[in-house]
């Protein structure tokens, strides 16, 4: 009897909590509609609460802490992984270091927070991290819910890897196939969209962990595995016989991998964007970590401005040092250097042609507004 009454108490308490939450929540989604209906008295308050102070708090907090808190990962080859000494390396990691150098002058002044896919959103929303650089695809709903997405640093697209002996070369050949995919990603949704759109039948096998996805594919649990093409390229190298596998020509989705910052701090948003543009502009201007000191004496006014020798492109207004760009390039290199370090011809992780990630001057999509 005691247990039973306990159960009743527990359940009623739970219902109370649930109903309380539910009741509260029903008001909020309605709010944006209110002005149109024009009959809701509480409506004017709703947008008012959503406004947050203009900015500068994150920069101040970072300077006081002496570290940039960067949300990243340890388990994605090329983007965020560990090298032989157990140090954090990768494309995403280097961007964290670039921001740390720009703000604090030290590429080591980063406090890494390793997040699982499910934690990315909440970590941004609660402001636990200053910067999310963890292979995140920019989507409109994430932009609305999580935080602000800065600059696309890596144009990826979802691809599909299959065994050559299956004879499949296009998605339509995969009718009825089993596909391995990581759960909780846009990849999972795109997979369903693509197959549904073509009227194809498929079954998904989903894992939390990327290594599990490819392990299951290699073992034969799935006929195909889908992920960002950059990842598939890496994986193919790791398979027992790379030539037995084929990455389809098809691009199933746009995957703009973009660092994001918490909502509500415009200044910090601008700083992170500026750092990203600096990396891109540096490559465009031919400044790299090797020649940055010689470039100081270059006559090109754009180079002089970027390196803080002459003029300004607004860096002081953002609370950055005049010569922050020179420090950043010295520490991590320009965009191309970062790319090549991990995915170039002699990259540490794997080789992936730059493709759409070439500079716009070379026919790619990487483009930055002028620094002036």
């Amino acid at each position: 009897m005691k247990r039973l009454s306990l159960l009743v108490v527990l359940l009623s308490l739970l219902t109370l909590i649930l109903s309380a939450c539910g009741g509260e929540a029903q008001e909020c989604p309605e709010c944006p509609e209110c002005p149109e209906a024009g009959e809701c008295p509480e409506c004017p308050e709703c947008p008012a609460v959503a406004v947050v102070a203009a900015g500068g708090e994150i920069l101040a907090a970072v300077k006081e802490r002496g570290k940039v808190v960067c949300g990243s990962r340890t388990d994605l080859l090329g983007f965020g992984y560990l090298d032989e000494d157990g140090l954090n390396v990768g494309f995403d990691i280097d961007f964290c270091r670039a921001v740390a150098t720009a703000v604090l002058g030290d590429p080591e002044a980063v406090e890494f927070v390793f997040l699982t896919a499910a934690e990315r959103g909440p970590a941004l929303q609660t402001g636990e991290i200053d910067l999310l650089s963890r292979n995140v695809t920019w989507t409109s709903s994430r932009d609305a819910q999580w935080g602000n997405f800065t600059v696309v640093l890596f144009y990826d697209g979802q691809g599909m890897i299959v065994r050559k002996d299956s004879g499949a070369t296009t998605l339509d050949d995969l009718d009825g196939a089993t596909v391995c995919v990581t759960t909780g990603t846009t990849t999972e949704l795109n997979l369903a969209d693509n197959f549904r759109g073509r009227g194809l039948d498929f079954s998904a096998v989903t894992f939390e962990d990327t290594a599990s996805v490819y392990s299951a594919y290699e073992d034969g649990r799935c006929d195909a595995a889908t992920s960002d093409k950059s990842q598939l390229a890496a994986i193919r190298e790791g398979l027992a016989v790379p030539d037995d596998h084929y990455i389809m020509e098809v691009t199933m989705s746009k995957e703009p991998l973009t660092p994001a910052v918490p909502q509500g701090d415009d200044m910090w948003f601008d700083i992170v964007k500026t750092v990203a543009y600096t990396l891109i502009n540096a490559e465009e201007l031919g400044i790299n970590s090797g020649n940055v000191d010689e470039m100081m004496t270059n006559d090109n006014p754009a180079i002089k401005r970027l390196l803080g020798v002459e003029g300004s492109f607004g860096q002081e207004d953002l609370g950055l040092d005049v010569d922050f760009a020179a420090n950043v390039i010295r520490a991590v290199g320009n965009y191309g250097e970062i790319y090549d370090r991990y995915m170039g011809p002699d990259g540490d992780a794997f080789e992936l042609p730059r493709g759409p990630n070439k500079l716009w001057t070379d026919g790619g999509l990487i483009y930055a507004p002028p620094l002036r």
Partner: protein
């Protein structure tokens, strides 16, 4: 008559291996069949295991990343800190062996022998590391000698353990801006270090909470009792993963703006709350085992309620539940693996990171997981062995 009984020949308890075989393995036809089947099963299993482990497995990800498995990403130049901690533990073990004896002896000897054996391994190892391995057994011995002196009392040793626990946390964490003891972010704590730390902090911090909850559950105050029962049953009713998940994702939403709690600390809090509910039930078992006469006797000599509880009931109850607490620690130690699901780089998380650190290691997951399983087995089996001896020594199981 009595003498005839005395002289009646007892069957000899041991009469040669053949007799033993006959009695234990091939007594009847189905016994024989069972034995043969079992033998075949053992043979196939062992052959498969050996063939795989020595011929087809590629142990490179394991042998190449031992530091990561041990300490995670803890900085190379600060490795002396966890090293110091283990040395302290060795020394305290030695002292406790002399002062407390009994089961502690098993633990101390196991520690000394294990690290001594590693020191003697003919593998490539940097000299300081090998010296460190040698120093541990030496310190156990030194501690034992120190334990001889009359100054060392049981109480001091206990104090030493508590202080070393505090010192461990301070030493690992360091201070911001102190050059010789810089702060090491908790994100860099990993591997076996983090696994042990999570379990230790969980069990130590859950102890006082668990005792309070157990007392609260037996309390005559209805409000207090309901809260305690609710907490205990709610926590025990859900899996640990959900509590860890709550700590990692939901808790930050429940805190005011600008208040951040470190991720590892959040995981520790979740482990503590989880362990506290189970601890409370263990302690309650101990409390129930105290005969009412003890309380009545205490009242009779004029102790008040608080004194009765603190001086008479609790000491006996806690003594009775020591084995249960050790058992809980072992379970918690294994449960730390679940922290990988919330992204901590404990032993299993290190394994995952290592698999993803080189393309050619991506598919060597069996090797890595088997290594981790073996590591856990060695630790938990030796701990549960020691806890069984502890149980026998305390005579708890014999009620």
């Amino acid at each position: 008559m009595g003498s005839t009984v005395e002289t009646a020949v007892r069957p000899p308890s041991y009469s040669g291996p053949v007799e033993w075989l006959r009695r234990n393995l091939v007594g009847t036809w189905y016994d024989t069949l069972l034995t043969l089947l079992s033998l075949w099963f053992v043979f196939v299993a062992l052959r498969g295991l050996f063939a795989w482990a020595f011929f087809s497995a590629n142990w490179e990800p394991v042998t190449g990343s031992l530091k990561l498995f041990a300490l995670g990403q803890y900085p190379q130049e600060d490795m002396w800190r966890p090293g110091m901690i283990v040395l302290t533990v060795s020394f305290l073990m030695g002292v406790s062996w002399r002062v407390w004896g009994g089961t502690v002896r098993t633990f101390a000897l196991a520690l000394a022998v294990a690290l001594g054996v590693v020191a003697a391994l003919p593998v490539e190892m940097r000299l300081p590391l090998r010296l460190w391995f040698v120093a541990n057994p030496a310190l156990v011995g030194l501690g034992y000698l120190v334990g001889w002196s009359r100054v060392v009392r049981s109480r001091w040793v206990l104090l030493g353990w508590i202080l070393s626990f505090v010192a461990t946390i301070i030493l690992l964490n360091g201070f911001k801006g102190v050059s010789w003891l810089p702060k090491v972010d908790t994100a860099m704590w990993g591997g076996l270090l983090l696994t042990f730390l999570l379990a230790l902090v969980g069990i130590v911090a859950s102890f006082p909470i668990g005792v309070l909850l157990a007392l609260g559950r037996r309390s005559s105050l209805p409000v207090v009792k309901v809260f305690c029962v609710l907490f205990i049953e709610l926590v025990r009713g859900v899996p640990l993963v959900t509590i860890l998940f709550m700590g990692s994702i939901i808790l930050p939403l429940f805190l005011p703006d600008g208040v951040r709690i470190d991720r590892v600390l959040r995981a520790m809090m979740a482990m503590t709350l989880f362990a506290a509910a189970y601890m409370a039930e263990n302690v309650r078992g101990g409390l129930q085992a105290i005969p009412l006469g003890q309380v009545e006797a205490a009242k009779a000599v004029g102790l008040n309620g608080l004194q009765t509880m603190a001086l008479i009931v609790l000491p006996q109850a806690l003594r009775a539940v020591i084995p249960a607490i050790v058992g809980q620690f072992i379970a918690l130690f294994m449960d730390t693996t679940l922290a990988v699901i919330i992204g901590l780089v404990e032993l299993l998380g290190v394994g995952k990171a290592i698999l993803n650190s080189k393309p050619e290691w991506l598919l060597l997951d069996t090797e890595v997981y088997v290594f981790i399983a073996a590591l856990f087995w060695v630790f938990t089996y030796s701990m549960s062995y020691a806890s069984r001896r502890l149980e026998a020594a305390l005579g708890v199981g014999e009620r």
